[in-house]
């Protein structure tokens, strides 16, 4: 795995102080980030936070007002051909011609990205296999369900084997099984490439991403590795259920417990500082006091909670 660790050093996308307005609205405001090989970067944010605008600019579909985008060292504005060759892009709406079959659509897209006839046939067969499209090759894209259209869109983005994939809400419209398959595919793609994806679904990020960026009103409010975010959301609560509960005051005297909430029906939530491990002492006390413990669950502050905290913190600060 030595090779892989060397490869993660390689910067694929570098975005510097990107800005874009639509009339009066500042959609994206001075956003900078980098994407390395082997990273899956998840863009999180409320609707209208500027995720799609940022991705459209990185994909070269929209021109920025200010800032610079380098794809594998090639400036997107000065050397668009070279830069765009290195990108596979799935917009919010998969760009499919209704009157073409899946095979025709994919072959057209492959040719458009410079593959010759033989290479495009090979590439189409390859991505159909990986995206589970083997059975629908002869169907019209206009007649496909949303989930299949989405998969054709993803297949289309990875046809020419680009080192950078930009996926705008790739799991929208998929059923749970398809979602799992696509997440696994994205993780797999992220091992040898760099992937940027935007999503509303926090589980998408938890399962697939190595890095997270949270956008709010056109600005980045958080950027970091998912592992760092996990640090922030270490367990700080225990939920317990007791058949013969003592008083709340007695529970509060347990070591390392800062606060006790009564949830009713013999259930309590015990808050404790991050890093403390009160479970052992609690078990000891429960047996000694005959509390008859029937539930003990560490509760995580969810990613959702952190997301809401980060975006709302910002909003109230402004």
């Amino acid at each position: 795995m030595l090779v892989e660790s060397v490869m993660t050093e390689e910067i694929l996308v570098s975005v510097e102080r990107l800005s874009r307005r639509y009339g009066e609205t500042q959609a994206v405001d001075g956003v900078s980030f980098t994407l390395g090989r082997g990273q899956v970067l998840g863009f999180l944010g409320l609707n209208g936070a500027g995720k799609s605008t940022t991705m459209r600019m990185v994909a070269g579909v929209l021109a920025p007002d200010a800032g610079r985008i380098l794809i594998e060292g090639a400036d997107l504005l000065d050397q668009p051909r070279q830069a765009k060759q290195a990108i596979g892009y799935l917009p919010e709406q998969p760009p499919l011609y209704r009157e073409l079959t899946v095979d025709e659509q994919l072959r057209y897209s492959a040719r458009l990205h410079g593959l010759d006839r033989a290479a495009s046939h090979r590439a189409v067969a390859g991505v159909k296999e990986r995206c589970g499209l083997a059975d629908v090759g002869r169907r019209l894209t206009g007649n496909l369900s949303k989930g299949y259209r989405q998969r054709v869109g993803i297949a289309q983005a990875m046809l020419h084997d680009p080192p950078v994939l930009i996926l705008d809400e790739p799991t929208v419209g998929l059923d749970p099984v398809q979602t799992r398959e696509i997440r696994a595919l994205i993780r797999e793609l992220g091992q040898e490439r760099g992937v940027i994806l935007s999503t509303h679904l926090l589980p998408d990020v938890q399962v697939t991403c190595s890095h997270v960026q949270i956008m709010q009103s056109g600005r980045l409010v958080y950027a970091g590795a998912l592992a760092d975010l996990r640090q922030r959301r270490q367990s700080t609560c225990l939920r317990i259920g007791l058949n013969a509960p003592p008083s709340v005051a007695e529970l509060a005297t347990l070591p390392a417990i800062s606060r006790v909430e009564e949830l009713g029906g013999g259930r309590f939530r015990l808050h404790h500082p991050a890093g403390a491990a009160p479970s052992a002492a609690l078990l000891e006390q429960a047996r000694a006091g005959g509390w008859d413990l029937w539930e003990l669950t560490p509760e995580n502050a969810s990613l959702e909670q952190i997301f809401v905290d980060l975006t709302l913190e910002r909003e109230t600060a402004e």
């Binding site: 874009r20 639509y22 605008t53 459209r56 994909a59 070269g60 579909v61 929209l62 021109a63 668009p80 051909r81 070279q82 765009k84 060759q85 990108i87 892009y89 917009p91 919010e92 709406q93 760009p95 499919l96 011609y97 209704r98 009157e99 073409l100 025709e104 057209y108 897209s109 040719r111 458009l112 990205h113 410079g114 289309q156």
Partner: protein
């Protein structure tokens, strides 16, 4: 790359019933007009035989037929070009082209070439009709070729104007209406004025069909050909600019 885009455009046209319907309707109407023209010519043949320097079958049948064909092209080209860019903007497929490693020039030329191929094959079909006269009469091949050239240049001009107007809107029907209006304006611009004054000579020069008249008479002047080429280049140039602008405006 231009050819890849052109091939998809052409495929898209032939996969829709619109193109086939247009071909069938136009072909049937022109065939009817052709029969009438041939009939008139036969009736007039007795009188024509007595004249010195009498007009031949090419002037009396082929030239009027091509004139009607030009009108037909004016009516139906907007229907063929209306979807070129407007549909792609509406359905979001333009993103595929814009994010692909192709330039705006290649995209525009590809689409232009695609629709032009269709129009030229339609012109070829229509122009083949008078060939049956070869069986019983002598056609002036020079005039015939000049007429073909004129129709092809007209069709190309219509296509370039339609392409540009289609890039301005996301509604195909708006693009079709605007294209028809613009082409008609270029068609009748010389009606105002008697062609003598400076201003009316300018209008006369701008007129689309006026440059076709000489070609129908078998006169292929570089001036007329240059007019059509300029017309095409101007609209293609504007379309390329418009596409670059779309990227800026979003």
């Amino acid at each position: 790359m231009i050819l890849v885009i052109a091939a998809r455009e052409l495929r898209g046209l032939f996969l829709s019933p619109l193109a086939w319907t247009l071909l069938a309707v136009i072909q049937a109407l022109l065939a009817w007009i052709f029969i009438i023209l041939v009939n008139d010519f036969q009736n007039a043949q007795g009188r024509l035989a007595g004249l010195e320097h009498a007009l031949g079958v090419t002037d009396l049948v082929v030239a009027p037929l091509f004139r009607v064909t030009a009108w037909a092209l004016l009516l139906l080209t907007p229907l063929l070009t209306m979807r070129l860019f407007s549909e792609e903007q509406r359905t979001g497929t333009l993103d595929l082209l814009l994010s692909a490693p192709v330039s705006a020039t290649e995209i525009v030329l590809g689409k232009y070439l695609g629709v032009l191929t269709f129009l030229l094959s339609m012109v070829a079909l229509m122009a083949l009709m008078p060939q049956v006269l070869m069986a019983g009469a002598t056609l002036d091949v020079g005039k015939l070729l000049a007429g073909w050239l004129g129709l092809s240049l007209l069709a190309a001009s219509f296509a370039s104007a339609g392409l540009y107007l289609s890039s301005l809107t996301t509604q195909p029907i708006v693009a079709a209406t605007a294209t028809f209006g613009l082409l008609l304006a270029f068609w009748i611009v010389d009606v105002a004025g008697d062609g003598q004054e400076e201003a009316s000579r300018l209008f006369g020069y701008l007129s689309l069909p006026r440059h076709n008249d000489a070609l129908l008479l078998g006169l292929a002047r570089s001036e007329d050909v240059a007019y059509y080429l300029l017309f095409n280049a101007a609209f293609l140039g504007m379309t390329i600019r418009r596409l670059d602008n779309l990227r800026l405006r979003g």
